[in-house]
């Protein structure tokens, strides 16, 4: 336990009085920006009946906000329990895992399963399988021996490629009719979200948030690292296992709603950490959520209404995210 006396504990002490106002200020500004982008999204360029526009766009907005919430919370929590700022669930190939599971269901049970079973039950089954599979992967990677961060990231990326190729492989083995049906369900986009799934996603996200809130006092401690957290009285393995399950559920929901977005979580979490200026989850979590809402809702408004591109948002996110990632990795190793 000699490592306890080393630097991490000494971190949050200096210059408190000045910094105390900064996170609050940041949160207020972000909140205002998020409200503005939501208002713009709902009203800009609207023609005709307001009741139709509002309910039509309201559904889109709800799914955007849900996705923003799910991605930002899952990324921040994942980074906390794995104790790093680079790895995110989607870089680990989690959304590819979801696609793989969905393909495997069609592959082994046939298209009939996809059509005949109620979409809500189907969604719940997929989430369950996803939680099981990802918990296994997490346990193996994070709760076993200590591994170097670079190895984890690289292994995660290669796992992502493996899941993607396996999914692709299974899709090729399906007959073309089944493949078409599957492709329809995999290519979810903001405009064609199934209201039933949207409703059940809201319920699940609310439940996850409740469990997450009960654990909120452990987040800051967990981010100090494994030995410190254990030393400070956190039941490490159990808490981490629970949080990883929450992360897996959130990732399944966001992937089910919009499909894979590799770098979005990384972008948002990194920005949130650097804007807030400290690593208290009280500030970082809401900041990340607000940022995600601003990026998705605001970005979508900008692209749809101002530039008239429609689906290019994910490409831009991918581009920026990749650059941020290279930068982060380089800075990390320069230190």
């Amino acid at each position: 336990m000699s490592s306890l006396s080393s630097s991490p504990l000494a971190m949050p002490a200096p210059s408190l009085p000045k910094k105390l106002s900064r996170p609050a200020l940041v949160l207020i500004i972000l909140g205002a920006l998020a409200l503005i982008s939501i208002a713009l999204f709902m009203t800009l360029g609207a023609k005709g009946s307001w009741s139709f526009v509002l309910s039509f766009r309201g559904k889109k907005l709800l799914s955007l906000v849900l996705v923003a919430y799910a991605i930002s919370v899952s990324t921040v929590l994942f980074q906390t329990v794995t104790n790093n700022r680079i790895l995110t669930p989607s870089i680990m190939g989690f959304d590819a895992l979801y696609v793989l599971i969905k393909t495997a269901i069609v592959f082994f049970l046939g298209v009939g399963a996809l059509i005949s079973i109620d979409s809500q039950i189907q969604f719940l089954v997929e989430v369950l399988v996803m939680v099981g599979a990802s918990s296994l992967l997490f346990r193996w990677l994070f709760l076993g021996e200590e591994r170097s961060l670079h190895l984890l990231v690289l292994v995660g990326i290669v796992f992502g490629i493996l899941f993607r190729s396996l999914g692709n492989f299974m899709q090729r083995m399906l007959d073309p009719g089944a493949f078409n049906v599957l492709q329809d369900t995999l290519f979810a986009s903001f405009s064609t979200t199934d209201p039933a799934i949207l409703a059940i996603s809201c319920v699940v996200v609310a439940a996850v948030s409740l469990v997450g809130l009960r654990l909120i006092h452990t987040y800051d401690v967990l981010s100090l690292g494994r030995s410190q957290a254990i030393n400070l009285g956190v039941e490490y393995k159990r808490t981490v296992a629970i949080i990883l399950v929450l992360v897996a559920i959130l990732v399944s929901i966001s992937t089910a709603l919009v499909g894979p977005v590799t770098f979005f979580g990384l972008l948002v979490a990194t920005l949130a950490h650097s804007l807030v200026g400290n690593s208290k989850h009280r500030y970082v979590l809401p900041a990340a959520i607000l940022l995600a809402i601003i990026c998705l809702v605001g970005g979508q408004t900008l692209l749809e209404r101002v530039f008239a591109f429609d689906t290019a948002l994910s490409i831009i996110i991918e581009f920026l995210g990749g650059i941020v990632f290279i930068f982060l990795v380089m800075r990390k190793s320069a230190r």
């Binding site: 021996e145 292994v155 493996l162 492989f169 090729r172 490409i315 991918e318 581009f319 290279i326 990795v329």
Partner: protein, 319 residues
């Protein structure tokens, strides 16, 4: 040993001649005479395809080996350094702006982009002071992602996404006589790599060491990078991307015969040709009469082997 491996590869090449939807067998070849359908299929489709498989496999594996020597890292190859993606971007741009150019000119532009992409990668690496073995492929894969996003964006604006995805996917089913001959350039590059193999090995020991031994380090590195760029562009333009091929073959060979490039080049070439043949035949047979593209089969095989290599080094370091 090497002879045995070559024989196995040759045997697979012969098998490859006789696998496919259209019936080509020794009996049907002899029955119909010289202008029967079977003979026609053999010469127009099967022989070109088999040649293309061996040429692409061998030269990509060698490109990977050269890259690993130059960067001095086991986990790099054209698809983990942004080289392939840059070649793709170059090809897309030249197709957009000069659709009338002959294929070889497009290939040349694509090779130039590949060279540029690799240079960018090396430039970024130089900015990283403390080099972890695993950091290098990590940066490379991300750079590949960024360049890929740019390519995708251009294709998206030009309404070419579907064709971009189609020609970037490694697939040998479209190889016919007259459409694969560029791959012979890959063979020339491979022979060149063999000729300069000793100098490459020395250059792989580091700049100071190599200069001390009388090697023009800069020239050797430039030559190596050009070989890699040309091979990547040629393979990309004719058959598409074959992920991880250049990574797993040299690594497995180096586990078997060590790191002397003069000795490993023939092994790598034969191994690359062999594994590509095996994957392609598998893809042709597993869902007969349909085909599974080689990039999908290689994606599964390659990532599993890559994972094994990664976790294996980790154990050795930990022990």
């Amino acid at each position: 040993m090497l002879i045995l491996a070559s024989l196995i590869t040759l045997a697979m090449a012969v098998v490859s001649l006789f696998v496919g939807v259209s019936d080509v067998s020794l009996a049907s070849l002899f029955a119909g005479g010289m202008d029967s359908r079977a003979v026609e299929v053999l010469f127009i489709s099967r022989i070109p395809r088999t040649m293309a498989l061996m040429l692409a496999g061998g030269s990509m594996a060698i490109a990977g080996l050269v890259m690993q020597m130059i960067v001095r890292n086991r986990f790099v190859e054209p698809s983990t350094t942004g080289t392939m993606e840059s070649a793709g971007l170059g090809f897309l741009l030249v197709t957009l702006f000069a659709p009338g150019w002959p294929l070889i000119a497009k290939m040349a532009v694509s090779a130039l982009f590949a060279l540029g992409g690799t240079a960018l990668f090396l430039r970024i690496l130089r900015a990283v002071p403390l080099r972890d073995v695993l950091l290098v492929p990590l940066i490379g894969i991300m750079l590949a992602g960024v360049i890929g996003a740019v390519t995708y964006f251009v294709a998206y604006r030009a309404n070419l996404v579907a064709s971009l995805l189609a020609w970037e996917m490694g697939d040998f089913s479209g190889v016919l006589r007259g459409r694969y001959e560029l791959l012979w350039i890959g063979l020339v590059s491979a022979v060149l790599a063999y000729i300069v193999a000793d100098r490459m090995t020395l250059a792989g020991m580091g700049k100071d060491f190599a200069t001390n031994l009388g090697i023009n380090h800069r020239a050797v590195v430039s030559l190596g990078l050009s070989i890699v760029a040309v091979v990547s562009a040629v393979v990309l333009v004719t058959v598409g991307m074959i992920p991880f091929l250049g990574l797993i073959v040299p690594n497995v060979v180096s586990l078997m015969v060590g790191d002397n490039m003069r000795r490993s080049v023939p092994w790598v070439a034969v191994g690359g040709a062999g594994i590509v043949l095996a994957c392609d035949i598998t893809g042709r047979l597993i869902r007969f009469p349909y085909e599974i593209p080689i990039s999908v089969v290689m994606g599964v095989v390659g990532s599993v082997v890559f994972l094994y290599l990664l976790l294996r080094t980790q154990k050795r370091v930990a022990a």
